[in-house]
């Protein structure tokens, strides 16, 4: 019968060296995996926030007057501050589902400027993460920002 005996000649020093190397590399690797994970989450957040923000701004641009705009914002946003500019905020959970958590906030501020023959509305929409991303220092909590303007003419201006 064949018997295999493992004759390991491993010294204590070698084990200590191995553990030190593994620990040092492990710290770097864990950081690297952590940064990669949260960088990916950040990239996904940008895509999700971009879709929500673009959808809202396109709806606003398709509306006929500032009253319709405020009705839409009242209905689709959770909070409203009545200061000038008027700010509306809605909250999302970590999976970007509205109303289930406060991991992300989408804030829109609208400032109306009455001019002859219509109203020019300055719009600024931003998405932010409530808590900072772990492992990532660069970029802060800002996820997305879009600024634009919309002119609501009192009469005329129809797209022919």
């Amino acid at each position: 019968m064949n018997k295999i005996s493992l004759n390991s000649k491993v010294s204590l020093l070698e084990i200590i060296f191995s553990v030190i190397i593994f620990a040092a590399a492990g710290i770097i690797m864990l950081n690297c995996f952590g940064i990669a994970r949260f960088t990916q989450i950040r990239a996904n957040d940008k895509a999700a926030a971009g879709a929500i923000i673009q959808s809202d701004i396109e709806i606003i641009k398709s509306l006929k007057n500032p009253t319709e705009m405020h009705e839409f914002l009242d209905d689709s946003y959770d909070d409203k501050s009545s200061d000038n500019p008027i700010t509306y905020t809605k909250y999302f959970d970590e999976k970007w589902v509205q109303g289930r958590g406060k991991d992300y906030t989408v804030t829109i501020s609208v400032e109306e400027e009455n001019i002859n023959f219509g109203v020019l509305v300055s719009i600024s929409i931003s998405a932010k993460k409530t808590k900072p991303y772990p492992f990532i220092k660069k970029g802060g909590q800002d996820v997305y920002l879009v600024e634009s303007k919309k002119f609501f003419p009192l009469t005329g201006g129809a797209y022919e």
Binding site: L6, V10, S18, A25, M29, C32, F117, V146
Partner: protein, 155 residues
């Protein structure tokens, strides 16, 4: 008959295995970071282009408001030339008095522009109607013509 085989790991064997495992994990970590960073760069680029689009859209709307302000209060039976002279004073606005059209462009930083054409309508008062509102590139890539001499066959 009992035979005994000695397998010796030897001095340094553990270190070699550890270094190999660490190297493998390092490569995986680097690859996952590179993939995630590429996705982030793509998302940032998409965001920059989107933000630029809405910025130039806003500028075009602002110009529309300026034109609307000029048209406000003008008498429809008044001098057409005077109306178009006033409109041409707005920065960047081109007028076509013959066809009663006004056009302007709003350009962004990311090779995109919005070209707007308005019809000036005279009824009981003067107002505009948007004829076109087009997004296009400022510069299109130029591809060099590649002339390939083809075999024309045997005569």
């Amino acid at each position: 008959m009992n035979r005994r085989t000695n397998v010796s790991v030897g001095m340094g064997g553990t270190l070699v295995v550890i270094v190999f495992v660490v190297l493998c994990l390092m490569i995986f970590a680097a690859l996952s970071f590179t993939t995630a960073y590429s996705d982030l760069k793509l998302s940032n680029k998409a965001q920059e282009i989107t933000a630029d689009y809405y910025y130039i859209h806003g500028k075009a709307e602002e110009k529309l408001a300026e034109i609307s302000e000029v048209l406000h209060g003008l008498d429809a039976v008044g001098d057409k030339t005077a109306i178009f002279r006033k409109l041409s004073q707005i920065d960047g606005v081109q007028v076509d008095e013959e066809n009663s059209k006004v056009s302007y462009e709003s350009t962004g930083q990311k090779n995109q522009k919005i070209s707007v054409t308005l019809n000036i309508v005279y009824e009981d008062r003067v107002y505009y109607e948007i004829e076109s509102w087009n997004l296009s590139n400022i510069e299109l890539p130029v591809y060099e013509d590649q002339i390939i001499e083809l075999w024309e066959g045997i005569e």
